[in-house]
């Protein structure tokens, strides 16, 4: 242990450097928080386990009614008409075994809920990012403004399969 003369003096350069670094970190975090999620119209409704079964029935109807073809994975490509409700059930670890196809510039009402714990849905290129809670249907007004094929990923850590929870969204011209 080094000897000391007992006189304590504050290390001002170290203090200054620390304040600067903390300010940069706080600034970056604030920018992330303020500029992060886009503004979307969202409505939330609480549901029970029984109502979750009705939600699943809506998905089955949507897939049965609006499947237009089968993709290379063998999954139905579901193309709901513009203005309709689009039902998505997040579960460990997928958004449903179908590919969603929407039209660019057309409005849809996304109906989102979870089968077990909290999930999220994010399509970065289309500025879509929503949390999906258990026991709640979240209605989100959504209008894709870019055509292409995009990954829908889970934006809330949901377990060991979180990274593989990727759905596909096609937006046509």
């Amino acid at each position: 242990m080094s000897d000391s003369d007992g006189k304590e003096s504050l290390n001002y350069p170290l203090l200054l450097a620390t304040i600067v670094i903390i300010a940069i970190m706080v600034g970056a975090a604030t920018m992330k928080l303020l500029g992060g999620d886009p503004e979307t119209k969202v409505a939330k409704v609480k549901i029970t386990k029984e109502q979750l079964a009705d939600f699943t029935a809506h998905i089955d109807e949507m897939v049965a009614g609006y499947t237009v073809r089968v993709d290379e994975k063998g999954w139905p490509v579901v193309h709901p008409p513009a203005g309709s409700d689009v039902y998505i059930l997040a579960r460990a670890y997928n958004f449903g075994r179908f590919t969603l196809e929407l039209e660019k510039g057309k409005s849809y009402q996304l109906k989102l809920t979870s089968n077990e714990i909290r999930h999220g849905i994010a399509v970065r290129e289309l500025k879509l990012k929503e949390t999906i809670n258990l026991g709640e249907i979240r209605s989100v007004a959504f209008r894709p403004e870019k055509a292409g094929t995009f990954d829908m990923v889970c934006s809330e850590f949901c377990g060991y399969g979180h990274e593989s929870m990727v759905g596909r969204l096609i937006v046509t011209e």
Partner: protein, 465 residues
């Protein structure tokens, strides 16, 4: 009188075994850096014999395993040997033999048999390669022996003594406890694994609980390093040893409740995996926050570093800074992106920096020659700057959706950044600087180790420089 947070002095056979663990640790850190080098050589026009055996992902698996398992736990072996009462050293030697043999098997596994690299979390695997699997098993048995000895072969009166040395010994003991519980929950996960799982999903679940609990081992030893290095730098740490022991106790309590989800949830239940994330995030962050603040406060009023301890002083500051950055980034994790990589690198590189500093400090104490202080200082700065740049690049790219565990064009995130720098540039340049300065660490440390020990006067412990 400064508060002296350090382990008591040891000598003789106990010191020889500790020096053995230090050599093993440095050897495997060097080995972890060899794989990126092999990859680079395999990309030249020369026909390298290992070209087909080592893909990018195989390199990544071995690099990660040698870094976060072999290097970090061999340094834990140094701590557990120094902190012990000197009895049962034969078990520590047997553990060392198993760890080295396991490392050799794992390291050459891709040359001996085909491997399917899996980039699962915590312990990335080479699937269907029996040499790798057996190497990992040997390593696991070695660590089991090491942690058991670290828990039992101690003077419990010293471990629970409420003074500075006792606080450090309690921290080291709590790390051994976390290591043992990590192995127990790993075996438990193996026994209750649901049928039908295979590949990456199987290994994610197998290592999930144990991997999370192992982070408590790394964190406890990181905090011991912070306290010890601060004492070496002459810092007076406020709060007192009882507070420090109380903070270590939070980690102990978290580790003791770790088996709870095995009793209440199915292994495949998403709630099982998120429970461990919660335990690590909320339970493993409190002690570093407060001990980091206490150490930093001590450093604010400590004397300026001297030529002899400048590299240790800066390692301590960089380690605290990296851990803080890693912790803050962890709060923003959402979708799977390189933000997670940035968070993990900040946290684990903080541990590595602290362990490197302890290696510099221990070398002369263990009877080796002193490292070249000028080059040690250069190494500390370049490693920290490289890692900070690497982490900022990963976090920046991750904020724009850059994917984890991919290379080349698959990390494309569009036109992000400035004309002179992009996130990918920062990741690449920072990573290259960090790897090169990691090799510089070996260049500074290896000559001292290769020249061997002088056993006559060596005594390790305390905080003199």
């Amino acid at each position: 009188m400064h508060r002296d947070y350090s382990l008591p002095k040891v000598e003789g056979e106990q010191l020889r075994v500790a020096a053995g663990w230090l050599t093993v640790a440095v050897g495997f850190l060097l080995a972890s850096g060899v794989y990126p080098l092999l990859l680079a050589l395999a990309r030249t026009t020369y026909d390298m014999p290992w070209k087909d055996s080592f893909s990018f992902y195989t390199m990544l698996v071995l690099h990660v395993d040698f870094t976060v398992l072999w290097w970090l736990l061999a340094i834990a072996g140094v701590f557990w040997t120094l902190s012990s009462n000197g009895r049962g050293l034969v078990w520590s030697k047997l553990a060392m033999l198993l760890v080295v043999l396991g490392g050799v098997f794992a390291g050459i596994a891709p040359l001996l048999a085909d491997a399917n690299p899996l980039t699962n979390n915590y312990v990335p695997m080479l699937e269907n390669n029996s040499y790798f699997r057996n190497g990992l098993l040997l390593f696991g048995f070695g660590i089991l022996l090491l942690t058991l000895r670290g828990l039992i072969a101690v003077s419990f009166r010293d471990v629970f003594r409420p003074d500075e040395t006792g606080a450090v010994q309690f921290g080291v003991w709590s790390a051994a406890l976390a290591g043992l519980v990590a192995i127990i929950v790993l075996i438990w996960a193996f026994l209750v694994m649901p049928e039908g799982l295979e590949g990456r999903a199987y290994y994610e679940l197998l290592f999930w609980a144990g991997g999370h609990i192992l982070q408590f081992t790394h964190t406890a030893l990181l905090l011991v390093c912070w306290l010890w290095l601060a004492s070496i730098c002459g810092a007076k740490i406020p709060g007192g040893p009882k507070l420090v022991m109380g903070l270590f106790m939070i980690g102990v309590l978290c580790v003791l409740i770790a088996p709870w989800p095995f009793l209440t949830l199915e292994l495949s239940d998403p709630a099982f995996t998120t429970w461990y994330v919660w335990l690590m995030r909320d339970g493993n962050g409190v002690a570093p926050f407060f001990i980091g603040l206490m150490v930093f406060w001590g450093l604010l009023y400590a004397e300026r570093p001297t030529e002899r301890n400048h590299h240790l002083y800066m390692s301590l500051l960089f380690s605290i800074g990296l851990f803080a950055v890693g912790g803050v980034l962890g709060l923003f994790i959402g979708e799977s992106s390189t933000l997670i990589t940035a968070h993990y690198h900040g946290s684990i590189v903080a541990v590595t920096m602290a362990f490197m500093a302890m290696t510099y400090y221990w070398l002369p104490q263990f009877g080796y020659a002193s490292p070249n202080l000028k080059w040690a200082k250069i190494q500390v700065y370049t490693y920290a700057i490289g890692q900070f740049a690497h982490i900022v690049g990963l976090a920046w790219g991750g904020g724009h959706g850059m994917k984890r565990k991919v290379v080349g064009t698959t990390q494309d995130i569009g036109d992000i950044g400035f004309a002179f720098i992009t996130p990918q540039n920062l990741v690449g340049i920072g990573g290259a600087v960090a790897v090169l300065s990691g090799l510089l660490f070996a260049i500074v440390v290896l000559p001292a180790i290769i020249r061997g020990r002088s056993d006559n006067t060596s005594v390790a412990g305390g905080s003199e420089v």
